[in-house]
Amino acid sequence: MGKKTLEIYSVELSGTKDVEQTDKEDGKERYRGLKNCFHSKKDHHTEKLKKELDLDDHKLSIKELEKKYGTNIITGLSSTQAAELLAQNGPNALTPPKETPEIIKFLKQMVGGFSILLWIGAILCWIAYGIQYSMNKSSSLDDVYLGCVLALVVILTGIFAYYQEAKSTNIMSTFNKMIPQQAFVIRDSEKKTIPAEQLVVGDIVEIKGGDRVPADIRLLSAQGCKVDNSSLTGESEPQARSSEFTHDSLLETKNIAFYSTTCLEGTATGMVINTGDRTIIGQIASLASGVGNEKTPIAIEIEHFVHIVAGVAVSIGILFFIIAVSLKYQVLDAIIFLIGIIVANVPEGLLATVTVTLSLTAKRMAKKNCLVKNLEAVETLGSTSIICSDKTGTLTQNRMTVAHLWFDNQIFIADTSEDHSNQVFDQSSGTWASLSKIITLCNRAEFKPGQESVPIMKRIVVGDASETALLKFSEVILGDVMEIRKRNHKVAEIPFNSTNKFQLSIHKTDDPNDKRFLMVMKGAPERILEKCSTIMVNGQEQPLDKSTAEAFHTAYMELGGLGERVLGFCHLYLPADEFPETYTFDVDAINFPTSNLCFVGLLSMIDPPRSTVPDAVTKCRSAGIKVIMVTGDHPITAKAIAKSVGIISANSETVEDIAKRLHIAVEQVNKRDAKAAVVTGAELKDMSPEQLDELLTNYSEIVFARTSPQQKLIIVEGCQRQNAVVAVTGDGVNDSPALKKADIGIAMGIAGSDAAKNAADMVLLDDNFASIVTGVEEGRLIFDNLKKTIAYTLTKNIAELCPFLIYIIVGLPLPIGTITILFIDLGTDIIPSIALAYEKAESDIMNRKPRHKKKDRLVNEQLAIYSYLHIGLIQAVGGFVVYFTVYAQEGFKPNILINLRVEWEDSNVNDLEDSYGQQWTWYQRKYLEWTGYTAFFVGIMVQQIADLIIRKTRRNSIFQQGLFRNKVIWVGIASQIIIALILSYGLGSITALNFTMLRPQYWFVAVPYAILIWVYDEVRKLFIRLYPGSWWEKNMYY
């Protein structure tokens, strides 16, 4: 036996890939329980260490334990022993997840994306200057300046990106919060309070109700001890703890209390068997950090985009380097051209813009209760195709609520909405009067005092979930329950326990004429019925005959079938002669009758779905997102909730449903007929990965019930094998591996444990499923808008690039300078490209399928081609028209400009003749050249306004979308114009910036081209709308 368990609980030190391999080798093995897959990068493939956990502590006797840990349960460890062990094993604390050092993060920003290209550009600049300097000591410093500017651009955008990232990650909470502060320990035969961090294996500790368990503890003695293991297992029921060994499994045996769980009541003494990272929770935590954080879809898309742009930049650069050299340009000049081409091609500001856009959306989502920890996760949510959702708290309200009542042979429906306001069932019957009395009196739950102003449903109650439900239910209908209880003084009580399965109390009645005691009882319906001989119908007691018993059973089955927790209620007026007012009831001896009572009614409770959830599920469905429910609850309850929220739609059936309807065996049903499936954890355990894949592909509506948090990971992996982008919700510590594994892990803000929040990419502040759906909507919108932003930014690159190419080939004076290009990329274009993030969706984005992460790229061929070769080209032409206009009106007609480059740039030619025979000094020409830069710059800027407007939509006409709905766009346009005006007229006198004061009319030369761009794009969109699926759409829709 020992060997088998060892294998199950063995810990593997291996990379995930090995785990996947073992999966294939022995698929079943994996599902047998908690198998910790440690991920250690160092030992990646080569070393596959198998390390045993100390598993048998729960089986050992106290003597054996003492021997094993060299301790004594009376005197505890000695201080010296403890100090030694502490030095050996380290403090009892979880190692926080390894963080990348800040400097590495910073450096990553400095070399990531386009930065490396710009660094190359800067270095080439300096090299070029070096060569120039070595040839001619007086060469101009222009190249050095340009190199510095490029380096500055990289550093500034790097700092900006780093700052944005740091801002978004500081939400991270750490594991440190989970560590209990103090521990009560026996050392050197003395009881001491020491910081929990100093606990060592073998310490004898005492815990009491309210404490957090300071380490993994083998209990030696316990008095009424109950622990809340929810942070570990997700089960919220308190669990009793004793010193007995009850189960082979370490996780289920009663004599172990786990680190970081809470002791709810009672006291216990125990021996520390594991500390720090070696505790169960420590292992899970490191398992979570071991599951690699892979790239988000948007990161992949951006990388793809960077590759495209860098590819274009480098290949055009090298191509023209070769052309320049073969055109007999000097290599030095060719290098300068290369730099110009790189600068023109790289959208320097774009990555910063993307970051800003994402963080704007993250802010918007935070307002809608989705706190995004990882900026890129904003978009991931939009591409989600499967949501694996918890039930409790996420889909449901996370409180038991009375849903149905059965009395007078009739089922009544109670209002389960969030505020309970509308209880419409018939309350006139005498039976209801009795039933309500039982509900009120046979209940130990109480409101915490001082909450009179709080709505009933929001008041805090001391008591368990069912009693709370009953208390609130009766408070809503009857009014002040506490007052009623006061009037019906309680004289005796037997609380609920699992052997009796009922709860009983005896009261004096508030009727002064009636001296009888009233005994009220509630409990498991079948047990209650056993104790009854009569039944109340319409306020009258009737003998309980077969037909009424039948009716009871039908009702019981029906309510149970709805997945509801059913309670039976009965009462008995104790005869006054036998039980006079002075009678003392003894609950231990039970000196009163507990049979032949009068059955009054049934009441069923459920944790009802949140009212917003069905809507959200429908939205998901129309958005092509599959919603899978994963819950630890009973399959019937799970199915009932799934049906009521629409995860299983009204007309779809499971295999079992079909079998029941057709009265045939489950095996005979054609599995293809069923759309829905309810799978229990036990069934999942026996499935091979292939079977799971089959299940996930064949059924559109799946509910996993009775699953353990570990199985969540298996489900997530199964979904990911379908190439789906998976969102997973979770709250327990044990959910954290699944949260990490998921493409987007969503932790619950209210119910979630710190570990879950830590592992997740997003935190739902209101625990509401509907918030996920709004998140999806935002995510999809941001993807569309990023597309628009990138298209906008890429367009002008051609207009910036063409001047260089023409300059090299045709030999015109340079139309636009490198610095000027930087002023477009980082000046005029920044605010407009951010403004596109505020654009509203074109159509209902929730009515289309999630994007296919391999096919629907952020930057696709169409986008690049349309931006570069259509709009970009028009912009280039427009820019050249402005350029030629300026030169021609100053005296240089286009024909004379061709091949003028060498003389034009020669500072020793000071009498260069223009078309009119005028002669120009070098500086006069240079100044004209800068005017040309400014003109070209203004030309691009004017056309970028048109570009900005057309990018508002991809399919609809601008007039359908509304020109003025997105006000930020106009802020963007205004900023463009103002920045350009400042550059030209404000800074026109600073020669280093190469701007000059441009004559006002030149600002309008490119306007016809701007109009042309708008018209051309409207025509494009018109044809796309007119001929969907046509050749035109395939080539022109991006």
């Binding site: 007086s138 100053e890 078309s915 009119y916 080539n1035």
Partner: protein, 290 residues
């Protein structure tokens, strides 16, 4: 966030690429079938033809709006540039040095001047008219043949000792070299109100105790006669030649580098632009060795 990235082997990538280049199942090359390629190419040809057309139209319209005789704006040409012959440039600007006793060091300089003055020979100036008025030669109508305007003659012999006619060595041989100063042409530019603009050469780094630079100017006083102005542009005055002033430097110290500046003194000629060293003046280094 796994399963998003599948590592592909190199051969797989190659295979995919090959399939992209030629997909035998669908008959697609580079993602399109042949007919699709033809269509898309036709579209692009049409698109670019239209764009070229629009561009050509714009340039044509632009050319139509231009005045053939005068440029629309002369924003950069407020004041004419000045150039010097012979023009030998060093690391920073004009740098002329020669050895009096070694004629190989100055023969190129002399040749430059001869070549430059070839444009002022009687044959090249025969289309121009003789002017003696010393006043602005305004012409409102196109009185010259072929719908042009008259230009005044400037003959090399007006430079007398520096014309290369009397002294073919331009004084270089005796260490008193001639430098020819030329003012750039600007359409419709009037250098001053009534007095003729005048060239004036001095040492740039004049020390108090040094003797000032002695210069002999040709034409006398170093003036550019007003009848060469205004210039009506290449189309109106196809044979126009810039008036010149020659400066014969008489007392250049030997074996030291001197900085000399020649300014044009006129009402509308400025020489204080800090950015442009050739506006209204010309500076040069001169070293005469012996």
């Amino acid at each position: 966030m796994a399963a998003l990235q599948e590592k592909k082997s190199c051969s797989q990538r190659m295979e995919e690429f090959q399939r992209y280049c030629w997909n035998p199942d669908t008959g697609q090359m580079l993602g399109r079938t042949l007919s699709r390629w033809v269509w898309i190419s036709l579209y692009y040809v049409a698109f670019y033809v239209v764009m070229t057309g629009i561009f050509a139209l714009c340039i044509y319209t632009l050319m139509c709006t231009l005045d053939p005789y005068t440029p629309d704006y002369q924003d950069q040409l407020k004041s004419p540039g000045v150039t010097l012959r012979p023009d030998v440039y060093g690391e920073k600007g004009l740098d002329i040095s020669y050895n009096v006793s070694d004629n190989r060091t100055w023969v190129d300089l002399v040749n430059t001047l001869h070549n430059f003055l070839a444009g002022y020979s009687p044959t090249s100036q025969e289309d121009n008219v003789n002017c003696t008025s010393e006043k602005y030669f305004f012409q409102d109508v196109f009185g010259a043949p072929n719908h042009t305007k008259f230009s005044c003659k400037f003959m090399a012999d007006m430079l007398q000792n520096c014309s290369g006619l009397t002294d073919p060595n331009f004084g270089f041989a005796e260490g008193k070299p001639c430098f020819i100063i030329k003012m750039n042409r600007i359409v419709n530019f009037l250098p001053s109100n009534s007095t003729a603009p005048r060239a004036d050469c001095t040492f740039l780094d004049q020390h108090k105790d040094d003797r000032p630079l002695q210069v002999e100017y040709y034409p006398p006083n170093g003036t550019f006669s007003l009848h060469y102005f205004p210039y009506y542009g290449k189309k109106a005055q196809p044979h126009y030649s810039n008036p010149l002033v020659a400066a014969k430097l008489l007392n250049v110290p030997r074996n030291t580098e001197v900085l000399i500046v020649c300014k044009i003194l006129a009402d509308y000629v400025t020489f204080d632009n800090p950015h442009d060293p050739y506006e209204g003046k010309v500076e040069f280094k001169l070293t005469i060795q012996q």
